[in-house]
């Protein structure tokens, strides 16, 4: 009897263990990459990633590459007071959510090669600090894409949630607190998470280092890149080096080298020749990136205009320097006085909060300055196939200086109010690409600044701007051919009447219907 009971219990135990093993097996089999699928029913399929990204991710194990996505999201603070910040907070929340959902897909396809780590400052403090230090993260809401590959040093790329992954539109360029305009609420226009993340990933995986070519042929100094004098560019070279870019000189006689990620023309003082214009225009039209850094010189001969190149891209550079009034720092909200002051040549820059290059700087309220600059003016109408966007402007009290009796630009401000307005000092141009032999085309970018911003002196103040510019340009270089659908954010508009109906329907009608149903059933069952 005992034996039989024992036998029965053993049988039960064994079969239970077997069944458990079956469960484990089922789960394991189901997790194999070949058998896993992700069905995406999310709104607007924000989570479905392009085959290009899938291929990229599936290739990782083969190359023994480990990819880490580190999320540094701002913690939810107290509800901000003004509408602008409130809405911004909500947009950021939405972007965080979209990014997390997207990264889930990356994890899904990448399997064990991809990990996502969400660093919360109030979680594991030590870990957060260590990670923040490793990647040089100083502000929140960034995604760091880090790649570890055997035989190569670990590399990473930092992407901003607001600037790189999301497209947030702020109706007006926001200025410093003393400025006047009233803010309107920002709006989330698009989410380009996949493009940004995959491009960053691809650029990290790409063999070879991006190269920045300097064309100093038309500039004053010829040893720009290595020169350590105040107006040399050694500092910039070092900065670019630390970003993983190498700097070379180029002479445009043989065109632009194939491996050029960016071509920089620092402070041209002579007009481009026809050949050079053609070479540069060609380069841009085939997806090239060009930085034209004009400057102001005391020698008026060197204050050249934009010339042919300018006509092609749709801009012109004025010859007079731009000066700006200094508002009374002690009286907030004061309008600037009309008396001249020697310091007005230094221009505090107002940045476009919507453009990836300047967005973080704008939000972070950084103080960037040009020592001297000329005005950048757009031609009207814009050339076909060119999209223009301002990057930097002065404050609203900028004017164009006229020469005084000694031939120097006068610091005396003009009398007439109409002379004062916001003057553009930097812009970005997107040029439609012309199809290459294989039919593919890529848009080119031109960034124009009309004041020196990144020589050895300037880089000290404007390092972030320089870094942003080159970062942005180099990344776009390896933009993957991702056909992302545009993301449309929709908002509920509910009138009070509608809402009342909704409320009574949900709270009264539905439960009452169930109650009535229950009573009806109860009554029917009781009666025979």
């Amino acid at each position: 009897m005992r034996l039989r009971a024992l036998g029965m219990w053993t049988n039960l135990l064994l079969s239970s263990v077997l069944m458990l093993a079956v469960w484990v097996l089922l789960v394991w089999v189901g997790s194999r990459p070949a058998l896993k699928t992700l069905i995406d029913l999310s709104p607007q399929q924000r989570a479905t990633i392009d085959q290009v990204t899938v291929d990229l991710l599936k290739d990782l194990p083969r190359q023994s590459i480990e990819v880490e996505f580190h999320l540094f999201f701002e913690p939810m603070g107290p509800e901000p007071q003004d509408a602008f910040q409130q809405q911004r907070a909500r947009i950021m929340a939405r972007l965080r959510e979209l990014t997390e959902v997207l990264l889930r897909q990356y994890v899904f396809h990448g399997g064990e090669s991809v990990t996502v780590e969400n660093h919360a400052p109030f979680g594991d403090i030590a870990r957060y600090r260590e990670a923040a230090q490793r990647f040089g993260v100083t502000q929140g809401d960034v995604v760091v894409v880090a790649v570890k590959q055997s035989g190569r040093p670990p590399r990473h790329r930092t992407l901003s949630l607001e600037g790189d992954l999301g497209v947030v539109e702020v109706p007006e360029m926001r200025q410093r607190p003393t400025a006047l305009p009233t803010p309107q609420v920002p709006v989330l226009k698009d989410f380009k998470g996949e493009e940004a993340l995959s491009s960053a990933l691809k650029s990290l995986l790409v063999q070879g280092t991006p190269t920045v070519y300097f064309f100093s042929g038309n500039s004053g100094n010829t040893n720009q890149m290595t020169s350590v004098v105040p107006d040399g560019y050694a500092q910039l070279t070092r900065l670019l080096d630390s970003m993983g870019l190498q700097c070379r000189e180029v002479d445009l006689r043989n065109g632009v080298p194939k491996d050029a990620s960016v071509v920089v023309v620092p402070e041209p003082q002579r007009q481009f020749t026809e050949g050079q214009v053609r070479v540069l225009h060609d380069y841009v039209a085939h997806g090239g990136r060009l930085v034209l850094n004009y400057s102001w010189s005391g020698n008026s001969d060197w204050n050249i205009g934009a010339g042919e190149l300018g006509k092609l891209f749709g801009f012109e550079v004025g010859s007079r320097p731009v000066y700006h009034l200094i508002p009374d720092a002690h009286t907030p909200g004061s309008t600037p006085g009309l008396d001249g002051n020697p310091g007005v040549g230094k221009l505090d820059l107002v940045m476009n909060p919507n453009h990836p290059v300047t967005l973080r700087l704008a939000r972070g309220m950084q103080n960037l300055q040009f020592d001297a600059a000329r005005e950048l003016v757009w031609t009207d109408p814009a050339p076909a196939g060119v999209r223009r966007e301002p990057l930097l402007t002065t404050g609203p009290w900028g004017w164009l200086a006229t020469r005084d009796g000694q031939g120097f630009p006068s610091y005396t401000a003009p009398r007439s109010q109409s002379e004062f307005k916001s003057r553009m000092l930097g812009a970005a141009f997107e040029v439609d690409g012309t199809p290459a032999a294989d039919g593919k085309k890529q848009d080119g970018i031109v960034v124009v600044f009309t004041g020196v911003f990144c020589n050895n002196v300037g880089v000290g103040i404007n390092a972030d701007l320089a870094a942003n510019v080159f970062n942005w340009l180099c990344e776009r270089r390896v933009l993957l051919d991702i056909r992302g659908s545009s993301y449309v954010a929709r908002y509920l508009k509910v009138q009070q009447q509608q809402f009342d109906r909704v409320f009574w329907f949900l709270v009264l009608a539905v439960p009452a219907a169930f109650l009535a149903g229950g009573l009806f059933v109860f009554w029917r069952r009781r009666s025979s």
Partner: protein, 255 residues
């Protein structure tokens, strides 16, 4: 299979005639109505992207109630009541197989639970009509959540059937089932938080991942993503507990 269908029909009929079911429905939809209405108000006032609406409807108190308590309530009387009243004798002496009966009862509970949830989908659809919100909402996450809920509940109710088959005390069966639900929903996160370094170890992490049902739900199903590997997890778990139930139910014959 004959036994399954017959039992299924009879149990489903019993559920539909029982006042407790209607009580649950009224309570659930009342609380949920308040919550959904306030979510809609919040979305409208604060200009939040309406694609988030279906996802926000997931993490509500009413949902927690439905997931933690109701499966236990529905399954507590499956077998325990039969043992208590003695009708298990007529059941087990009828020419039906054990697994047929178990399957039928479990299916009835799951079907009824799905029916209890169905109006939430219909409600959301009704809200998109003209007298109400007059907009179109993204239903992808709604369907994904519904599927996830269905899978989760089938596993919870399989355990509930098992708990019910172990005792003749309804209350005890219900309490055991509720404890299981709570553990499944909250324990993995707790364990992960407290294990520290051990949680990094590959197999432990994988195990915790799979069992972390609430996180999986909130981050996958509620957002509209259906990961098929999770379906296997729920299916395997359901099969395991149903197997245990059949063994337990038929134990009387073997003992």
């Amino acid at each position: 299979m004959n036994g399954t269908l017959v039992t299924l029909k009879k149990e489903l009929f019993s559920y539909c005639c029982s006042p407790v079911s209607y009580l649950i429905a009224v309570l659930f939809y009342l609380v949920r109505g308040f919550e959904v209405a306030s979510i809609i108000a919040y979305f409208a006032n604060y200009q939040i992207d309406q694609d988030l609406l279906p996802t926000s409807c997931h993490n509500l108190t009413s949902t927690q109630f439905m997931v933690i308590l109701v499966p236990a309530i529905l399954t507590m009387r499956c077998f325990a009541e039969e043992r208590r009243t003695g009708s298990i004798e007529t059941l087990m002496t009828a020419p039906v197989r054990d697994h047929g009966v178990v399957l039928g009862k479990w299916l009835a509970a799951v079907t009824f639970y799905a029916l209890l949830w169905l109006p939430t989908v219909l409600l959301l659809w009704a809200l998109t009509l003209s007298p109400f919100l007059d907009t179109d909402l993204a239903f992808g996450p709604v369907f994904a959540s519904y599927l996830g809920m269905f899978l989760l509940s089938s596993m919870l109710m399989a355990f509930g059937c098992f708990a019910s088959s172990l005792t003749d005390n309804l209350m005890l069966a219900a309490i055991v089932a509720v404890l299981f639900n709570l553990c499944l929903l909250f324990l993995p996160r707790l364990v992960r938080a407290n294990l520290g370094v051990l949680a990094e170890q590959y197999y432990v992490a994988q195990l915790l991942d799979k069992f972390d049902v609430s996180t999986n739900f909130a981050q996958w199903f509620a957002r509209g993503l259906i990961d098929t590997s999770q379906i296997w997890f729920f299916a395997g778990g359901t099969a395991f507990f149903l197997f245990l139930t059949v063994q337990s139910f038929g134990a009387r014959r073997v003992a």
